[in-house]
């Protein structure tokens, strides 16, 4: 009897996992469709935005304030891909319940889907950026075996963002200041994340800030994959992995715990 109920539970868990995936994929596609359908450049817009950002940063930090970082375009591009995904995913994720409250009135839509959609949508920009990155790698990169770790870094960042978005979205329902706090925090975080500078130029006494910033570890990971830079230390790799998984588990738990009260507060 036990085995039967267990297999039944596994089946229902598998079913709800597959429904979760279906809904995240569909709702993300729908959001992107709705965003790009009426523009003449369509899908080229996000790419244009990233390239413009890349162009400015490369110009400023090669010609005006040379930081002396080799392969700077590819270096910055990795930083931009990861940072832009993080910052729009987290800020949209945080307000995903507040901005889509009508979806929470859909009894058959698990709320956990909405922050995940907010994280998945800007991930498409990363996917679009990968061919550009590939060209840069061929031209000037220096990939080693660490290139194989590239998808793993993406997975860790995804899990980390999901957890954070689940938690922040839940908190925003009850505390409406949260999206503002997150907005300010992201602005500050940008400067303590080595998007356009290198960890090496950071003075010794501030190194710890970057060491505890998971984003710094992600960036080093992406850069080691395409530039042949050294991997972050094993301790930091394990650290961010554990933090990401814990955050996702706790975030999911918190969200499920409070979701029965969402619609009363929205």
């Amino acid at each position: 009897v036990n085995a039967v109920t267990r297999s039944g539970r596994n089946r229902s868990r598998a079913r709800s996992a597959s429904r979760f995936r279906t809904l995240v994929v569909h709702l993300s596609k729908r959001e992107l469709d709705s965003l790009h359908r009426t523009t003449s450049l369509g899908w080229a817009w996000p790419l244009a935005r990233q390239l413009a950002q890349l162009g400015v940063l490369v110009f400023v930090f090669s010609n005006i304030l040379d930081l002396g970082i080799p392969n700077f375009p590819l270096f910055v591009f990795m930083g931009l891909l990861s940072w832009n995904w993080f910052s729009s995913g987290i800020s949209n994720g945080t307000s995903s319940f507040l901005n889509r409250r009508h979806f929470l009135a859909q009894p058959k839509l698990p709320p956990i889907v909405l922050p995940a959609v907010a994280v998945a949508v800007p991930f498409v920009d990363v996917l679009l950026g990968i061919p550009v990155a590939a060209v840069l790698v061929v031209v000037s990169g220096d990939p080693g075996w660490t290139l194989l770790l590239f998808p793993i870094w993406i997975v860790i960042q995804f899990v980390f963002m999901l957890g954070a978005a689940w938690m922040l979205a839940t908190a925003s329902v009850f505390f409406r200041d949260v999206p503002n706090v997150v907005g300010v925090a992201l602005t500050l975080l940008f400067y303590v994340t080595p998007v356009f500078y290198s960890l090496r130029v950071v003075p010794e006494q501030f190194q710890w800030v970057l060491q505890v910033n998971p984003l710094a570890t992600f960036l080093e990971g992406y850069r080691s994959a395409v530039l042949g830079d050294p991997l972050p230390g094993l301790g930091r790799i394990l650290g961010v992995t554990v933090v990401a998984i814990t955050l996702a588990a706790v975030g999911q738990h918190v969200l499920r715990r409070y979701q029965p009260r969402f619609s009363d507060y929205l």
Binding site: T22, S34, F174, F175
Partner: protein, 415 residues
């Protein structure tokens, strides 16, 4: 007792009030809000149930808790106390298509709705053509949704619903936006589901609809269950309570100086008098005397509404015409059923009701006019049997109507 599909057992619901909800500040300062002071229950100890094939109407004034009941039953919100049981495949239409995206096409939105309603991608794709067909939108399926009217959105939402075979169905007052033809179609579909054993819980302002379609009704008043039982009986109680409410709100001959002509407060003039009807004038074609019209001719009814104690929001206006000889109702029309926006009356509103052609049989008729509270809770002002209308154009005869007609006789001589 047969199987129960939807049960409410002593259900209580309290909504958090924002002033007592925690903010970051209360959290930081460490002061807990005094939430227990003066709690207000949205539902108080509700108990009722639905079995297979039950079609239960939820009636009661706005704010009585109808939508709360449906939200709790759908699982969108949870009860503060008590137990609610619903089948896992419960379907619901609680709000109309706010998950729709204006840029995407009707078909794409229908697909999304189908997914959100619980269909798998394969089922949703398979259902799509018939959803579009049920919604009678094949010509518009590829047009962006922002070009749709509200009625068309209802069609789409209902088209999706028509595809689920739920054991329980929850409907908020969504049918009201549709045109009459589509409302009928939706109701027919609901009847079909009910015949197949679906339990339907349906909130409505339209008491006639509840009487006609539901076998049982739940009457809610300020979050409490006032009555639960056979639909006609419960609606009858609700209506007579509203009549009693009107009587109790009718001032005792206070407006005697305002009594004009045929009106006597407390006799044929009832209501709270918060809004009054003034200067009711019936006009026909130019050649007709006041208060009389030509059979098949034009009729214009004009009157003025005056609010006496502050603005009145969205009152219902109703006009009923009776045959003065047999007492048969000729028409009974109101702004709510016809979806006319009356809006907020601050001081006065002039109302005109125009009939281009009234093919009534010649004879005497008599008219009631009324202005009612938006939930038919009571009348603000009701003038019963108060205005005479004489239809001219020949001698009185049997029958109520005399449509435009023509006789033709062709004579032949047979060989």
């Amino acid at each position: 007792m047969s199987e129960r599909l939807v049960t409410f057992e002593d259900v209580w619901k309290e909504y958090p009030r924002w002033e007592s909800a925690p903010t970051l500040r209360t959290l930081l300062v460490g002061r807990r809000p005094t939430a227990t002071a003066g709690r207000r229950w949205a539902l108080e100890g509700l108990t009722f149930d639905l079995g297979p094939g039950d079609f239960v109407g939820l009636v009661g004034p706005t704010g009585a808790g109808k939508s709360t009941v449906l939200r709790l039953a759908s699982g969108v919100s949870t009860a503060s106390r008590g137990r609610i049981r619903t089948p896992p495949d419960t379907a619901s239409v609680l709000s109309l298509g706010y998950s729709f995206d204006g840029t995407l096409s009707g078909a794409e939105n229908a697909y999304t709705s189908a997914l959100l309603a619980g269909l798998s991608p394969r089922q949703a794709r398979a259902a799509l053509p018939s959803i579009v067909e049920f919604a009678e939108l094949p010509d518009y399926a590829e047009a962006p949704l922002r070009t749709y009217s509200d009625g068309m959105k209802l069609r789409l939402a209902f088209g999706v619903l028509a595809h689920l075979h739920p054991r329980a169905l929850l409907l908020d007052e969504v049918l009201a936006v549709g045109d009459a033809h589509f409302q009928q179609k939706c109701l027919a579909r609901i009847d079909e589901l009910r015949d197949a054993g679906t339990a339907v819980l349906f909130a409505s302002h339209d008491l006639e609809q509840v009487k006609r379609h539901c076998n049982a009704a739940v009457w809610l008043q300020q979050g409490r269950l006032r009555a639960f039982g056979e639909a006609k009986e419960v609606v009858g109680q609700y209506e007579s309570a509203s009549h009693a409410e009107t009587l109790s709100r009718t001032p005792v001959a206070a407006a005697s100086e305002e009594d004009a002509g045929p009106l006597r407060v407390g006799e044929n003039r009832l209501g709270s008098q918060e809004v009054t009807i003034e200067d009711v004038v019936l006009t026909g074609d130019p050649e007709c005397a006041p208060g009389s019209i030509r059979s098949g001719g034009r009729l214009e009814i004009a009157f003025r509404l005056r609010a006496h104690h502050g603005p009145v929001i969205e009152p219902i206006l109703g006009v009923t015409l009776w045959d003065d000889i047999d007492g048969v109702a000729v028409w009974d029309i109101n702004t709510q059923v016809e979806g006319v926006v009356v809006g907020t009356i601050r001081d006065v509103a002039d109302v005109r009701l125009v009939f281009d052609s009234v093919p009534l049989a010649p004879g005497p008729y008599i008219m009631d006019v009324g202005v009612y509270e938006p939930d038919w809770q009571f009348a603000y002002d009701f003038h019963g049997n108060a205005y005479r209308l004489v239809v001219t154009g020949g001698p009185p005869s049997k029958g109520l109507i005399r449509p435009l007609h023509a006789w033709t006789v062709s004579r032949r001589t047979l060989p």
